[in-house]
């Protein structure tokens, strides 16, 4: 089934073939999981949301426009589910003072380039995961979904000014935690 395009797999899946949908799951479970992980901030919750994403997407497969790419669509379904999950738990949306202070994860030492890059990436990931949920969400939508401020505001149901301030504060925190001099 490897040679089939996403569009073809969607059409076969729509006819009730679960194996075709299984192939789509195998292709995109990794990227959906990463979206969920960055928003949920916890591996197990991210795996749960990834499962939920593919189950929901299967129910809504008829609404998928085959002229568009499947990957952004399924990632968006995942992001929306995570947003809803986070918004249901309003408390975790609120940035706590403790969280805002941060601990500052510096990157020391400069051995081989590959290792430096890997460590840097890990530090950035950790810094993102340490952000309050509301900040993680706007970072995800801006940097990984390339959404405009207005689109983010519509997606999360916040005023434009809140989106701007969330993004600003999130980036400021990231810069502090990554000890970037700005």
């Amino acid at each position: 089934m490897q040679e089939h395009s996403d569009r073809c797999l969607v059409e076969i899946a729509l006819q009730g073939d679960h194996r075709a949908y299984g192939e789509l799951v195998r292709r995109y479970q990794g990227s959906v999981f990463n979206v969920c992980y960055r928003i949920m901030g916890e591996r197990q919750a991210a795996e749960d949301m990834t499962q939920e994403t593919f189950l929901r997407a299967h129910d809504r497969l008829k609404t998928f426009d085959p002229d568009r790419s499947f990957a952004p669509w399924i990632r968006r379904v995942g992001a929306n589910l995570c947003l809803n999950a986070i918004q249901r738990e309003k408390l975790t949306m609120l940035p706590l003072d403790d969280e805002l202070e941060g601990s500052g994860h510096g990157i020391n030492g400069r051995p081989e380039l590959a290792r430096v890059h890997a460590e840097r990436a890990e530090a950035i990931r950790e810094a993102i995961l340490e952000l309050p949920a509301a900040y993680r969400v706007v970072i995800e939508l801006r940097h990984f979904f390339d959404m405009s401020y207005k689109e983010i505001a519509e997606a999360v149901g916040l005023p434009l000014s809140d989106v701007k301030s969330h993004l600003f504060r999130a980036r400021k925190l990231l810069a502090e935690r990554l000890t970037i001099d700005v």
């Binding site: 009730g16 679960h18 194996r19 949908y21 299984g22 192939e23 799951v25 195998r26 479970q29 990794g30 990227s31 999981f33 990463n34 992980y37 197990q44 795996e47 749960d48 990834t50 499962q51 939920e52 593919f54 189950l55 299967h58 840097r120 990436a121 950035i124 990931r125 993102i128 970072i139 801006r142 940097h143 990984f144 405009s148 401020y149 701007k164 993004l167 600003f168 980036r171 400021k172 990231l174 810069a175 990554l178 970037i180 001099d181 700005v182």
Partner: protein
Amino acid sequence: MSDPRVAHITDETLHAYLDKELTGKARSELEKHLGECRDCSVRLESWSQLFLEIGRLPDLELGSDLAPIILDHLAAKGHRSQWTSLLLAGQAGLTVTLLAFGWRSLISTLTFHQIGNWLSLPVQALGMMTDTFTTAFVDTYIQYQNWFVTKLDLVIRLPQVGEDGTRLIFAALLLVLLWFSGNHYLLRANGRAENVRP
């Protein structure tokens, strides 16, 4: 390095610039300032570097294949939905049959008369002068109800049942209604996938 008399660009504006949220005059003025101010250019470069690194964050490995679990769920769900469709069709058929046989009796003996009485209750609570009003109100209601039922009778000719039949049909409709509500909650419960730990 920087001239204290010069108004520097705020980080928020630099973010908006990097996010391509600045257009027209604001953008060109900012670019002009960046060409003249080393301090702001350095800050822009730092933010730009961070934004780039965030966007290029490599994906983590999922660790396990979720496809078999998801497919199991879908298979179980498909099995359930077949039964659900049959159940809903059965309920709908039963409701239509019950209403076909009992609509006239239900309307004449229960609905309209009761509504007339219920509506008259707040009027009765007002005092002495309202007895006559209540009687007139209920009588008028019954009169219109009879007119309505007669008109409906002319349009739809369906079997009629007696008083006992009406009670039975009413009880059956209540049961079907409860059945529907129960199913609604069951469907909602089934609709939410129970995630399985891989």
